[in-house]
Symmetry: D2
């Protein structure tokens, strides 16, 4: 008998999560495209399969996944129409919101207002209960929680947040920490692996990883690496090897989905821009170049993420050259197979007793987190692992050679 | 006392060779940009220095290197004006031409018409004498010969040419083999390392490498990897790892220098296009995609090579995405530091008794040649080594870790 | 009672014609987009309406228009599914082919081989009969014929063809003139307006316009002006007025439909490239610039026509500047509303006794033809009217102010 | 004897003004490129010549024009080296600054601090004296003043400023109005034509035009139309005529000169963005599209202004298409010939008794101003004339046909 695994997505009706759940049942020979784990490199590893996943999650807007797919129009109707029944049954639990969330979330009827709760820990306990009930209802032993919510506001400095320890949660009010922390801590206390696919601060809080190790839970993050940053981790090492001196890199992004709308607001944009800006210097080994990153909300693009980059460098005798990249991507289509990969990785790590931050998953993230207990010698930039695209891929390959494969 | 090394360039007054000789003496802090060997990775290896090189060579147009630099306008006058005297003394020997050459070369007064010679071997012997005299005049022990001529016509199939063995040269007329072979064989018989930076067939003739090994000479080629193909070897492996299905890659190139003019003629263009086309399939491991490469002569660009690429691929569920690259490069500025690197590598290999095709130099070439006596397990595509940009770089690094460094 | 008008399309199952017939019945508020006649400028003119058109035509491949729409996938299924019945009834008559046609057409079973006919005139008479029967069957008085076939081969020079007069047709074999001439002459003799939307030579034959005037038939051509050339007629006048000196214009086109496949063959490409090349010089008034136009067949584009242009010019003190345009168009979507406009214009001209080449329609064509009896003072380039985009539009506006509107 | 005319530039050492003065004496056959007045259309009109201009002006940084040219590096040294003596003699008077200016200007030693003056009128009187002395010293009768300063801060609403009348200037403190107003009013009272080439509010103050008419002075503005906006006034009318529905236009600009640095500051950027945003709606006649304009300071560009635009529109049946424009311009090279044209136009208008806002110069400006006494029927958008590029050109042509030419 096949053991099913639960997958609970925060932001179930958002563009990425909805693309995951409406794509996963599509009858398409091309369902494995975009998945690193579907390449030949990993064909012998025993990962959980899509068919063995049971989906659920939270959102602050109540609608079923079929309606959400019709609204997002990311996947052609043909591809999910046969899953209508499955998708119609898929509805979210009420999401947890506090003052770090978007104004729309704060004003939503379908949400638990954390400022009304006794303290922050009460939200954690409610998340735990949600997970427990999901397990019971679906007869599951294990659940992976993936955070796919919108970028939160940046309201307090990380160093201030880092003064908090787990024991404080019962004394802090529901607004003190980002609402995302409630999901992470709730998941950990339930023994569930937790992935942060967003630029939020959740996994940068020191006590969170400590708690995960204590509770034997793998973590992974942060900020999914879908397009422009991926290209930067690819091109920057080439510039270094070919000894071209970077003098400037200008990047602009236009997107028209909800993510774009929220990122056009300065307080939501800050952390994302920081993740995007910090990728070049550590790879190149110098910082005397100009690096500008813009993000604009541009409705006509919907979920299609368009980016335009100008890369300016000097060659022999300092003569300037340049190239421009115009990226015509699809945000959620790029993200969804990475989310599915991450669920599989997390389940694998749990089964193989690999806990805390999973550094080997760096290739999936714009801001690949270091474990506080890391013994690797990967260079760091602040708390971020510094890896070119190919080094990150080699790191992933190595991990799976090291771990003995169990059945 | 410093031992000088000779460098003889075929096509001395062409854009690339002239950029090498007029750039090499420039007073510029940025002279090492564009050189792989100037990165930290190689800082401990004992390579010959630019100051230890004595330059000479052949061309079919007689002018001094100063005039040629004024004509090409590739390097700003400021940077080479102090080398006026040195450059004015630098004039070419008469080039060897036959019916494989461009019509301009064939009609040039300043050339040795190979069809007037007794046989092909006579041209080889004349090249030997040129080298010998250059050595004597400059009191040199060693010379590296680099072929930087224009792309030749494609007049006979490689398989027919490959029926020729060294002993036949005295029986073949001066038109039978590409004129470039006269330089290669002449150099080898003089014990001089030979590099082919062009898409010509020279080093693909089997007898050439055999002769080189017998004469203890290193060879390297072919077709310098400066811009668009470099980007392909960088991006294609990413597509593979990220499991994006390539459906098409359209590339167009516009350039206005002499190279561009010659490449706009179909019979000169053939080999170049072939080199450019053969890079994707072996890296990706499949061939069901469209791959188009255009090259157009466009005078307003002069030596600036502009390229525009559209890369079309499918992601999750087969949804199509695309990105475009507009490359605004400078042909000779990209090539010159690679040529200088190759001179150093060849001298190093000679000193370290590494003969025949130098496979570890694959990163420098669009069509990295396999040695007939290779023991490496690098995958092949026809006779071409199949390597991503980073694999090619790793190959180079490994070589220099393996070879004990001598003084 | 509404008087219906017949529309016979040559190439009925091709991309453009099929987009016309499958789009014309679509229930879409955006059906008038792309039509010049749907702007406010023309709202008072009494044009025939789409609902008053009865469609038919010829093709060398037998299939119904519904199947063809499914094959082309140019218009979303949603938009034409309600017209299934109408489209299924729409099937072509056998097309006329001779040695000027594509090899596919020549080899098609569903075609009249003109080389088997007694003489060229026999084909003309067969076309007349086709039209007559279409009229009778549909109870029509008038029919407009629009040539939307593929670009023909360029087999004989225009000056040789121009030695032919109408009376010769009974003495010439069926291969002598382009097959398109049979449609044009047939239409004229039946009193039907004829439009050439392709770069073929049809309407450049002097006897054709003479015949049209004698038979009181309006003509219009040639080569529909959809994307890149439109941009050229827009930008070149700006360069002139702003006194920027054009030094080069490089244009490349990639498209993956049948038109693209045929245009990738040199003998089919010649006339198209000529039309595209001849637009800049007459507007600018000088010719000392480089102008390169490439067309490549690139399957992944299907009917989407992508173009990339580099426009290089000099400003104050001769300093060079440049801009690039990347055009992501849809070939047939751009063409179809122009075809519908032209049908309306031709019907209007017929009703208003305006015969021969309709010069005022210049805005619709890459190669706007001059009438042999023109009294306008529009400058000429060879036999082509030289007009910027805005001058061409003004010419159209003027025409409709001059002609008294009848009911 | 030739009558000389004075030209006083505000911001004499800035990029544009310095390009004017260092370019104007260059020995180059291409000196007339970029000038509308150098086209054939205007060859019979009696404009003042560059050789008849005597240059001077103000700046807040003291340096001579030769040093400034060396600093800006906009024009190649070759082209201005022969003017060394002329340029070295060209030094600015002290500029007038108040709290509307950039912080750098406010902190400059070489400036008149307007907040230290008795009232705003004192600055006006000082400007008058500067002009008077310049006239006397150079024996001039007439001077044209051109404002080429940096974009000022946006500190007070135009409607508040518009409550001010000329008589109030003696009661207002030196900070109340933008410092640019002191130059404009000073020029007017001296009978000198005044041009505003920047997005500042100067000429939008109602009392300024009234004063100009009373004093028989022509005015022109505002915000020079060099690149991206020019393209918009060219393309938008085409979209309208071809009946394409614009759904979005995204524009980003990167530039690295001082203008770019200042425009990267929100309070300086506001007015510029407003000018750039207001061009599409009035031409198209609808506003339900997305229009985003970004400006980023990007040092590697220096004075080269690069722009990237994505233009998204719908065609037949609402199917979306797009094109992208990558503009690689040179800011000051585009601006300088327009400034020279404007000097000529203003002198012409003065000689021909045409006073107040010169509406016929609309083609030169992003925000072409309406005269308060206009009798034209050009549509308005707020107080801005709404004209396509070609309509604006026709307006200019008409003006010169109407005005009788005097000697």
């Amino acid at each position: 008998m096949v053991m099913m695994i639960g997958v609970m997505l925060v932001g179930l009706n958002g563009a990425v999560a909805n693309t995951v759940v409406s794509g996963v049942k599509a009858e398409s020979e091309k369902k494995s495209l975009g998945s690193i784990l579907a390449t030949n490199y990993f064909k012998d590893i025993d990962f959980v399969k899509e068919e063995e996943m049971v989906f659920g999650g939270w959102d602050v807007f109540y609608t079923d996944a079929f309606q959400a797919a019709n609204y997002h129009k990311i996947i052609p109707f043909e591809l999910y129409k046969n899953s209508e029944e499955f998708l119609k049954r898929l509805t979210p639990l009420k999401g947890y919101v506090n003052e770090w969330d978007t104004d729309e979330a704060i004003n939503s009827d379908y949400s638990i207002k954390m400022w009304n709760l006794k303290n922050f820990m009460e939200a954690v306990n409610m998340v735990r209960k949600d997970i427990e009930e999901f397990k019971k209802k679906n007869n599951l032993e294990n659940v992976v929680v993936v955070y796919l919510g919108l970028p939160l506001k940046n309201r307090r400095k990380l160093e201030d947040l880092n003064k908090v320890c787990f024991e404080d949660l019962t004394m802090l009010d529901g607004n003190y920490l980002p609402s995302s922390v409630a999901y992470a801590v709730g998941a950990i206390l339930e023994g569930c692996p937790f992935v942060d696919f967003t630029p939020n601060l959740t996994l940068q809080l020191d006590f969170v990883e400590d708690l995960a190790i204590k509770n034997k839970v793998p973590l992974a993050g942060m900020d999914g690496n879908t397009g422009q940053t991926l290209m930067k981790t690819l091109i920057a090492p080439m510039l270094k090897i070919r000894n071209f001196k970077l003098i400037g890199w200008y990047s602009t992004n236009i997107l028209g989905n909800n993510d774009g709308k929220v990122l056009s607001r300065p307080e939501h944009k800050a952390l994302k821009i920081e993740d995007k800006l910090s990728v070049l210097e550590p790879i190149l080994g110098y910082s005397d170049f100009e690096h500008v990153v813009d993000i604009s909300y541009y409705r006509p693009r919907y979920d299609n993420k368009e980016a335009w980059d100008s890369i300016d460098f000097e060659g022999f005798l300092g003569l300037p050259m340049s190239f421009k990249i115009n990226w015509l991507g699809r945000d959620s289509i790029l993200a969804a197979p990475l989310v599915l990969d991450l669920i599989k990785h997390m389940d694998f790590s749990r089964r193989n007793q690999n806990y805390g931050i999973q550094e080997h998953l760096a290739i999936y993230f714009k801001h690949p987190l270091r474990s506080r207990y890391s013994r690797s010698n990967i260079p760091l930039y602040k708390d971020k692992l510094v890896l070119s695209f190919f080094d990150a891929f080699n790191l992933l390959l190595e991990f799976y050679k090291k771990i003995p494969i169990k059945n």
